[in-house]
């Protein structure tokens, strides 16, 4: 998977590094002083993740926990995300990471103890807050490399009011299957229509495979959340999404889903430019986009509301609880 592996010398003796080392060839490892000396110092083309993806392993300095924007999650509790990794092995065409970082190379930060210290401080101030993993990466895709989930589960076991959300498109649940599900831990899967998944979710597990994994994890006792985000409009979107709702309902009862978010595709102008450059032949950039109230590129307001309300109603008709459906970033 990785062409080159760079490791900060200050983590060479850590257990977490040695755990990752089991999955990579030792002769690929190059020791460096700091990740920041190399990663992001030059503009590495996003699509080089296809054949020239590098891995960086080190410690995260600076901010480890950030407050999430408004309308990030359900409810009135505070939402935070923690920074444990940068970038993703998948290649979704709408992904904002392509305009966010200067390099697509994966960074794994392994100073989880520092992150957990910050989590403890934050949880002391906001006991019923949420912590989200997967803001800058997929939270499960490389979880077998890092082995970090057990550490976080231990924290959330000892802090039952505080909640953890693991956002993912992955079906890599090996590490989770070794752990006991907790009431305050939620697995949330990003889904789209089958057609949308095929067209835009490059290198991701299919929607069918994700639904199968959702069923497996639900049957094991995990709380499940679903993010239908981003919704990319197509003239057949109602039929396409009804099909996915039906497939999901066959896998798990929709009224047992802890929360469902709906979000329409949106880009910052930097990301939109990258999408057009990276995927010039994709129909993702053919939509009737405008520059909206927050300077993001998206569909106009009546159209967004129509799409979201339509899908919300369809979900309710299919058996979802209205109280758990929320609109993301609207």
């Amino acid at each position: 998977m990785f062409k080159r592996v760079f490791v900060e010398k200050r983590v060479l003796d850590s257990d977490q590094y040695h755990h990752i080392l089991k999955h990579i060839k030792k002769d690929k490892v190059e020791v460096i002083d700091k990740i920041s000396d190399i990663w992001g110092r030059v503009k590495k083309p996003y699509l080089q993740k296809r054949g020239n993806l590098n891995l960086f392993i080190g410690k995260k300095d600076g901010t480890l926990i950030k407050e999430a924007p408004d309308a990030y999650g359900l409810g009135d509790e505070k939402h935070f995300y923690y920074v444990h990794a940068y970038n993703c092995i998948y290649e979704c065409q709408y992904c904002y990471l392509q305009g966010y970082f200067n390099s697509p190379d994966i960074v794994l930060y392994i100073n989880h103890d520092d992150i957990l210290k910050k989590m403890t401080q934050t949880a002391n101030e906001h006991p019923d807050c949420w912590f989200h993993a997967g803001e800058f990466s997929d939270s499960l895709a490389l979880s077998h490399y890092t082995g970090e989930l057990e550490t976080y589960f231990e924290f959330f076991k000892n802090n039952p009011k505080t909640k953890l959300e693991l956002r993912t498109k992955s079906v890599n649940t090996k590490e989770l299957e070794k752990l006991t599900p907790l009431e305050n831990v939620y697995l949330s899967f990003s889904l789209s229509s089958h057609k949308g998944g095929k067209l835009f979710d490059n290198k991701c597990p299919s929607i069918k495979a994700r639904i199968k994994t959702i069923k497996k994890m639900f049957d094991l006792g995990y709380n499940i959340g679903i993010h239908f985000d981003p919704v990319v409009y197509d003239k057949d979107f109602k039929e396409d999404y009804q099909e996915v709702f039906d497939d999901l309902a066959k896998a798990i009862p929709l009224d047992k889903i802890s929360y469902i978010s709906l979000g329409v595709v949106r880009y910052t102008k930097d990301v939109y430019r990258e999408v057009q450059n990276n995927y010039p032949k994709s129909e993702i950039s053919t939509g009737p986009y405008i520059k909206s109230f927050d300077n993001k590129v998206r569909y106009n307001k009546p159209m967004r509301n129509w799409i979201l309300n339509t899908l919300k109603q369809m979900l309710i008709t299919s058996g979802s609880r209205p109280s758990v459906i929320y609109l993301c970033m609207e």
């Binding site: 080159r4 760079f6 190059e30 460096i32 190399i38 110092r41 030059v42 503009k43 590495k44 083309p45 699509l47 080089q48 054949g51 020239n52 200067n102 409009y233 003239k235 032949k281 994709s282 129909e283 950039s285 053919t286 939509g287 009737p288 405008i290 520059k291 909206s292 109230f293 106009n300 307001k301 009546p302 159209m303 967004r304 509301n305 129509w306 799409i307 979201l308 309300n309 339509t310």
Partner: protein, 337 residues
């Protein structure tokens, strides 16, 4: 014509004699029928300003940088010839942010162009994380080619390993050999074929520049969808019907573009129809409606010419019959028509 860029005369010599090029100036430019060879010298800045000058003077379709480079990785050995994917640059102590990618995006190798000669293994260690080979010009050539929007290729022959002590004189002595090897590679690549143009655009009507751009943009988007060619698109919208209308070319063009945009995004037609229905009472009373064209701002302006009491009465009637709640519902997503 193609512009072959070299740093050194030694590497260019075989090209000059093979293509029978003629020296045209003291700027180390050699001209052939469809080719220019320019020898810019070593370093970023010389390449930048000299290339810029040449591009301004001649019609250049393609730039091909050719030369030697040092290997930074074990997998590249002396005498290997590669094509470069992306070029980076390194100053005296730190990298430059911008990078430039060539047309050879499937190549596996990147190049870092350094301000200093990479003859010191310590310097080589500093630059190794960024690329696979090191030279002194390619990044500058990339910068120029991007600025002028000219496609770029780069062929490099590995002359040394940058992590070992480098003997520049030894490399210079082998210049003729390198030049022949590079020429052979170049000839096998066949860079001289004509640049393929994009599929021809069909313009059914005479269009202004603005309408042409709008038309082209919509057609290109439609080609990304399920249509395989422009003819298919024009048949879908019944072009013949528009052609038969007794309208001026400009009006036909506008109608054509409208139909293409409806085909691209049918939802826009639904929204437009909804707006017409919502504002019908006012439109019938000849009131102009000023809506945000992006439909993001939830407000609108009304204007009407008043020159009689009847105008005021008509306006009053129209406002009485106007249901603002339905407009609010429209903003909230009610698009039923």
């Amino acid at each position: 014509m193609n512009l072959l860029h070299f740093a050194h005369a030694g590497e260019a010599q075989s090209f000059i004699s093979h293509f029978d090029l003629t020296a045209v100036s003291e700027d180390n430019i050699y001209l052939g029928e469809n080719m220019i060879v320019q020898i810019c010298g070593e370093g970023l800045f010389d390449s930048m300003y000299k290339l810029g000058h040449t591009i301004a003077k001649y019609k250049i379709n393609k730039i091909i940088n050719i030369g030697i480079a040092g290997s930074l990785v074990d997998e590249l050995k002396v005498d290997d010839i590669i094509e470069v994917r992306t070029s980076y640059a390194f100053g005296e102590i730190s990298p430059k942010f911008n990078s430039y990618t060539t047309q050879d995006i499937d190549s596996k190798f990147d190049c870092i162009s350094c301000e200093l000669r990479a003859i010191d293994p310590k310097y080589a260690k500093l630059i190794t994380p960024f690329a696979h080979i090191v030279d002194r010009e390619l990044w500058a050539v990339g910068k120029v080619s991007k600025y002028f929007k000219i496609p770029l290729h780069s062929i490099k022959l590995i002359s040394d390993n940058a992590h070992d002590e480098v003997n520049c004189l030894e490399i210079k002595d082998k210049a003729q050999d390198y030049s022949l090897q590079l020429l052979e590679y170049y000839l096998n690549k066949n860079y001289d074929h004509e640049v393929q143009s994009e599929s021809d655009m069909i313009y059914p009507f005479v269009m202004t520049h603005y309408l042409k751009k709008k038309y082209e943009k919509t057609i290109k988007k439609l080609l990304k969808k399920s249509f395989s060619n422009i003819q298919e698109i024009l048949e879908q919208i019944n072009l013949e019907e528009i052609t038969d209308l007794k309208l001026r070319e400009k009006e036909k063009s506008l109608l054509l573009i409208e139909k293409l945009e409806e085909l691209l995004n049918p939802i826009d037609k639904t929204i437009k129809k909804k707006i017409d229905i919502l504002f019908k009472p006012l439109l019938d009373a000849k009131v102009d409606i000023g809506l945000d064209p992006k439909l993001e701002v939830q407000k609108f302006k009304l204007s009407k010419e008043i020159n009689s009491q009847k105008n005021i009465d008509d306006l009053a009637d129209a406002l009485k019959n106007f249901d603002f709640k339905k407009v609010e519902d429209f903003w909230k997503g009610d698009l039923d028509v």
